[in-house]
Amino acid sequence: MTVQEKSPQTTSLRSRINWLDLGLRVGAVIMALLITSLILLVANAQPLKAYWNIVLGAFSSTQKVSAVIASWVPLVLTTSGLLFTFTAGLWNIGMEGQVVVGSVFCVGAFRFLDQTGLDPWIVITIAFLAGALGGFLWAILPGVMRIYGGVNEIFGGLGLNFVAKALAIWLIFGPWKRPGVASMSGTEWIDPQFRLTYLPGTSLSPVIVVIALIGAIFVALMLKGTHFGLRLKAIGKNDRAAHLLGIPTTRYFLLAFGICGIFAGVAGSILVTSKQFSLIPDAGFGYGFLGLLVAMLVNYHPILSSIVAFFFAALSVGNVELQYMGLNSYLAGVLQGFLVLFVVMTNGVRQRLYKKG
């Protein structure tokens, strides 16, 4: 599809096809909106009012915009991490669990270093490193199981998602339970000195935006401009051929999983230090799954993924406003799901048209 064409005739063909591309993309979005509207009608709600409420819920105040950005940060990180595994042709469905284990390790580090009297910034740094380590280890597992046990990484990852959640719940109800009574609301909060400070009047800490930007740029550079990225791409296209050409595929597979897991672990640490301040049963907040959807929607394009992630974050945050219409907050997931579904399907339509044209 990205073949360079030079003759004038093909140029005009290409510009025509670009219009077609655009038309198909817009068509996919319109389809998704239409079918979600139908769903809203089935649920006895006015679609336009619902969409307007989502917009209001995401952008009507500084506080809300800051919440969107705060939600964009972990999503950009999970999506960026997943670009590594996707580039290598791997399905890291275990991303959600890797975020959870990242949070577990992060909270664990805080609990361990709580009383040491170290400078808070040192403790926070160690906790982030611990979170990254947790994500890394949990991501290496499905890789090892695939390479040395023949277990498809989709099932390995999925199973580990459930195990990670059970691990969090076990900790919340067992060793890390609140003094007195354990509850689903989570472990005890981390000490205020370890919480990342918000900008005044918002719920956003500027540090995490910097981390997200560094992460996104790192991925774009790694995948576009380095040997590592090119080799990963070669493996993703055809791992046997890459192996025959002398690329150590096993090591690259594990590296892709490991880097992806580090991104997940950092996302988990951010959720702990700037949003939840404790370990809760649903510690991943769905960011791992959502990252998979964003990556699929942009066809694994690094820069586009940051933009779409912002849009998805706005949907997820704005969506909470729907409770005032008596609707629950799964609508964002429905709309996001239809969007990705139709975009992927129109990719197929485009490829068919290309072949015929």
Partner: protein, 330 residues
């Protein structure tokens, strides 16, 4: 045999039913060469829809029917996207799995925890009076009896009939089947739709019979679809072995229920218990193929090597050769 054991065993026969239908339905789809990863979402969506429709129409039959239809519709999206549009089956399946789950939770919210209608037991006369066997196998609702027949029919269809053998051909060597005049893609569409309908039945089987009611996220159904998929692999795409896997999993669920009432382990942990086991069983059936295992085996002395490799071969399962690969006429 005492009463508790009998109830537990009878419970296994009942709890296995939805998993059986879903896993064998998926088995038909995968035998034709298509992977349908949407099972988990489909089951949640049809459990909700079946419950709501049965409640509003007071008809259990309509509840099951809507389940089958929705299952078929979701499968149609899988089939169209993967066969006609040639998109990644994993991508489409995963998107549908999350989309259908969210749809179920969104649309089902007004019906959470509402009392609904459900299927009642119809013990089979005479048979139920047989000691031990009667209470375990013949004191159930009609779905359980249907499941016995279903396993046998699925086996006979796949291995003893012409179309069944043809189906295997489509999954193993589609080009050869095509040369013999089989319309490969049409057949794939058909089996995906039929399998989808079977998977769609699993939802109402839960909400109208086995795990009565709908309570959104607390229904405890999130995850069973993935288990069903894993059982298809563990079962080596063979209905009888798949059935064994389903009964085994149902046994675990029963164990969980017993444990929950006797200990204070949080239910979420018990619900996660099957997943490490799922990974472990997949490890068992796949590890025989791993390179390092072959190397280790070659280095072993003769006698243990024969035993170990025999065990590994017995456990090992292989997918249909063309699973996940689109078919193109040359």
């Amino acid at each position: 045999m005492d009463n508790t054991t009998l109830t537990t065993l009878a419970g296994i026969m009942e709890y296995a039913v939805p998993i059986l239908f879903a896993a064998i339905g998926e088995n038909f789809i995968e035998k034709s060469g298509i992977t349908n990863l949407s099972v988990n979402g489909t089951i949640l969506l049809t459990a909700m829809a079946g419950f709501v429709v049965a409640l509003n129409t007071s008809s259990l039959l309509l509840g099951f029917l809507i389940g089958a239809l929705i299952g078929m519709a979701v499968a149609a999206v899988v089939a169209f996207s993967s066969i006609t549009l040639k998109q990644s089956q994993v991508a489409i399946g995963f998107i549908l799995a999350t989309l259908c789950r969210d749809l179920a939770y969104f649309l089902g919210a007004p019906y959470n925890n509402k009392p609904g209608i459900f299927l009642t037991k119809t013990p089979i006369d005479f048979l139920v009076d047989i000691p031990v066997i009667g209470p375990i196998f013949f004191n159930h609702h009609v779905l359980v009896y249907a499941s016995y027949l279903f396993i046998i029919l699925a086996y006979v269809y796949l291995y003893k009939t012409r179309p069944g053998l043809q189906l295997q051909g489509i999954g193993e060597r589609p080009a050869a089947a095509y040369n013999r005049g089989v319309n490969v893609n049409f057949q794939r569409y058909m089996y995906t739709l039929v399998g989808g309908a079977l998977i769609g039945l699993a939802g109402p089987m839960y909400s109208l019979a086995v795990k009565i009611g709908w309570s959104g996220q607390l229904s405890g159904l999130d995850g069973v679809g993935w288990i069903a998929l894993a059982i298809t692999i563990f079962g080596g795409w063979h209905p009888l072995r798949v059935a064994f896997g389903a009964y085994f999993f149902a046994g675990l669920q029963q164990l969980g229920i017993t444990l929950q009432s006797n200990t204070n382990i949080p239910i979420q942990i018990l619900q996660a218990a099957p997943f490490p086991l799922m990974i472990f069983t997949l490890l068992l059936v796949n590890i025989g193929r791993a390179e390092w295992v072959e190397r280790e085996l070659a280095a072993m002395p003769e006698k243990p090597r024969l035993i170990v490799s025999k065990i590994l071969r017995m456990l090992r399962t292989s997918p249909p050769a063309s699973l996940g690969i689109p078919f193109e006429r040359e």
